[in-house]
Amino acid sequence: MSSMIEFRDVQKYYGKFHALKDINLKIDKGETVVLIGPSGSGKSTLARTVNGLETIQEGQLIVNGRDIADKSTDINRIRTDVGMVFQHFNLYANKDVLENVMLAPRIVLKLSEEENKKTAMALLDQVGLADKAHNMPSQISGGQAQRVAIARSLAMKPRCMLFDEPTSALDPEMIDDVLGVIKYVTSQSDMTSLIVTHEMGFAQEVANRVIFMADGQVLEDDETNKFFKHPSNERASQFLGKIIKH
């Protein structure tokens, strides 16, 4: 299988702080990979390099066949293939729910108004929020906002989705609905997903592979069952021990 995302000796610095160290990773097309680790370990930073929200200083980062770090790469073109869902949803506050979904397809993909609206309504229906189409983001709950944000990303027909702690800002009773939608998205056979999360049960359920990070390094990269049953890295097993206790 060919790879969708490939890190080759990637280094990322914030000033003198070495945020990502010697990252070498390959995520194949159609795979669902969950990224876990303590806070400050660089998980979010790693996810955000994939669509160029964070720049890398060394190495190569190949996304869908193009090197992100190459200056001649059109980053906006890559971003249309890579959807992103944020911890704080970041719905466009000046647009209603439907417009949130329709905006980028209209101005970036230049989709016809009719087709755009049809796709948008279908997506809102899929995430169970067709009846909220004309609400403003401030009028819906966090869980609903995150489902809209997922629909908004899917409207671009991405090949790959990045989920950056999609449920961390949600009330507990809203998490299930959002995870349900993410599960559905990742189950699409041609969708590649990278998910940063603290939901271990969910990770076990959806992930093909789990990557454990600490201090800007990838410490373990294993098939899901093996990772949760027999983590080979000591820090990973400590981390799991702490998380699963609660």
Binding site: N76, R77, H88, A104, I107, V108, S153
Partner: protein
Amino acid sequence: MIKLLVDNWSAFISGFGWTVLSSLLALFFSLIIGSLFAILEVMPSKVARVIGNVYVEVFRNIPLLVITMFFYLVIPLYVVKINGFTAGTIGLTIYTSAFIAETVRSGINSVDDGQMEAARAQGMTFWQAMKNVVLPQAFKLVIPPLGNQFINLVKNSSVLAFVAGFDLMYQGNAIASTTFETVNTYVVVGLFYLVITLPISYYMQHLERKLA
């Protein structure tokens, strides 16, 4: 006072007209120029930010009268002949645009970074994200301070009087010096300014309530 107003009606009205025209032109162009420099100040490119910053710091820290005199005296000498009205309006535009740039920039900075990030993550360019997502939110936030800038602009248009711009203040000076009814004249002039500024003030409050 009524007699003064009636006797000099055409002069007052002509002055009022030029003041309104100058204010409208300056408002329109300073809003555009100010917004452009505000965007320059928040662009990813460092060069753009420096250009924006230099423009704002230079023009908001020089007195309006000095800027206006510069356009009135220096430009005709070396570039192109312009009259007092044009020079005054250009000076007013540039001076006000520096303040509008600062106002709009503070609005842009108050919009959550996540908004720009989400838009960029969907493949929008910086300008598309600005235009469709960030600026509409930023302008909504800065309606009250923008209203202040517009009102200041109208009042500052009295600088035209110094460069023979035939505005309200210029006509007031002329009327006062021929009729010697100094106090009455400037009361009338003040009332004419209120005719322009009060509706702006009221309209901005209305806009603020409507969009809140």
